[in-house]
Symmetry: C2
Amino acid sequence: MAISIGMFDSGVGGLTVLREVERLLPDDSFVYFGDTAHCPYGPKGDKTIIRYSIENSIFLIDQGIDLLVVACHTASALSLHKLKSTFSIPVLGVIEPAVQKACTATHSKRIGVIGTRATIQSNVYQKAIHAHLEHAHVFAQACPLFVPLIEEQFGNREIARLIVREYLLPLKEHNIDTLLLGCTHYPLLHTLIQEEIGSDVVIVNPATACAEAVAQIKKTLLHLKKEVEEPLRNQRKVFFVSDDPVRFKETGERFFGYPLPDVIHVSPTNSLI
Amino acid sequence: MAISIGMFDSGVGGLTVLREVERLLPDDSFVYFGDTAHCPYGPKGDKTIIRYSIENSIFLIDQGIDLLVVACHTASALSLHKLKSTFSIPVLGVIEPAVQKACTATHSKRIGVIGTRATIQSNVYQKAIHAHLEHAHVFAQACPLFVPLIEEQFGNREIARLIVREYLLPLKEHNIDTLLLGCTHYPLLHTLIQEEIGSDVVIVNPATACAEAVAQIKKTLLHLKKEVEEPLRNQRKVFFVSDDPVRFKETGERFFGYPLPDVIHVSPTNSLI
């Protein structure tokens, strides 16, 4: 039986998560909401992020989803607890599954985390890793130029490599054996990051970890629902944004290199409360 | 007699404009509004930008300003016409004064313009220059990594120089004699840009050009008002933002290297309409 999976991010970044979930669950329906009118979330205040997250969730729940994925690291860090306690459907973030995976992968217990300035300053990964693996050594590094580098497709690969090298240098010096990509965009720099950090370091992609967790929850949901007769629903994949849909489609397609279906605009002030 | 000057930008960038206006008019009052809840404006849709601009202007006019400066290039490009026709006080943008200055400075009529992707794609500078100087050759170049480079104070100056060099190369090849900095942040890269584009190229800073235009309008305003008895007002300099004021203060101070007064938070949805 197919379920409907809702997902929000501040922009196109969450598409890396959507891609991985879709790869594992190709027959399910997806409703993606990019809150582009408020993008990026990273530099904004905690209360503002929580307010946006609640509004986005209400919108997606109104769309009839069975499960909600918070595909944004900042929103996962700040609002997951509030969303879980507010709504009755299962809510998943991108942080917890990735942290579990990193803690399983490490041998030396020396784990590197990279992310935006806001994510690193929030200490959310550092705390979550310590909660799983008490004696872990966590080395965190903000890489604030990675997102613009990816979104703007900076053409000069050698300069991109120098920037990646510059940011990863402290982590290399700390001899990490596992590196967690703490931002939805970073999987798109996977090859450069792997080359610069060294082939012996395990890179944990939160999008993959999150997709595996979603597949697991789907099983539980279906198990709970097996007694219930459900009407057949058509599979659908739909994209909503709170700002210009054409720009989202363009950036999203540039971001991934393959076509997206039509994107629908919804006004955040009128439709989301 | 002192006047009260209102100014808005999507974030801290407009502080470069504030600094120049204050330098010319040190005895006037300033009310700055940073619409940080919606920052950045560049990638957002036209209608959204116009809506934000109107809301910001109403808020500033409510603060009793005599003159409004739109210190944001994107908002100047998209909403200046609407603001001028809607409100009774004088409204100035950052584009027109800079274009006038560039057209006066050029000898070869080969003018370069750099800005964010959104500003360059909007063609606003290209059109404005042609309106002033019909046979000008305008060479426009988007430099989308400059803003994050500045805001994140990327430490490695050599990599910053390589990025500047990469973006300016096509303009150098076009033998421009004048370069217009079409983004509020870029004056902070002035030295690197001058070094890379060459000392014979005149760099036009829209913040300086805008400040000179504001001083000119102040003269006209005072001339019109000379018959009117005005109560004495205390000089004040006040900062409002629509998101976290602490972050604005931190980024603003990092941006400029000198302390800002306290910043006050106003909620965009509650207070601005």
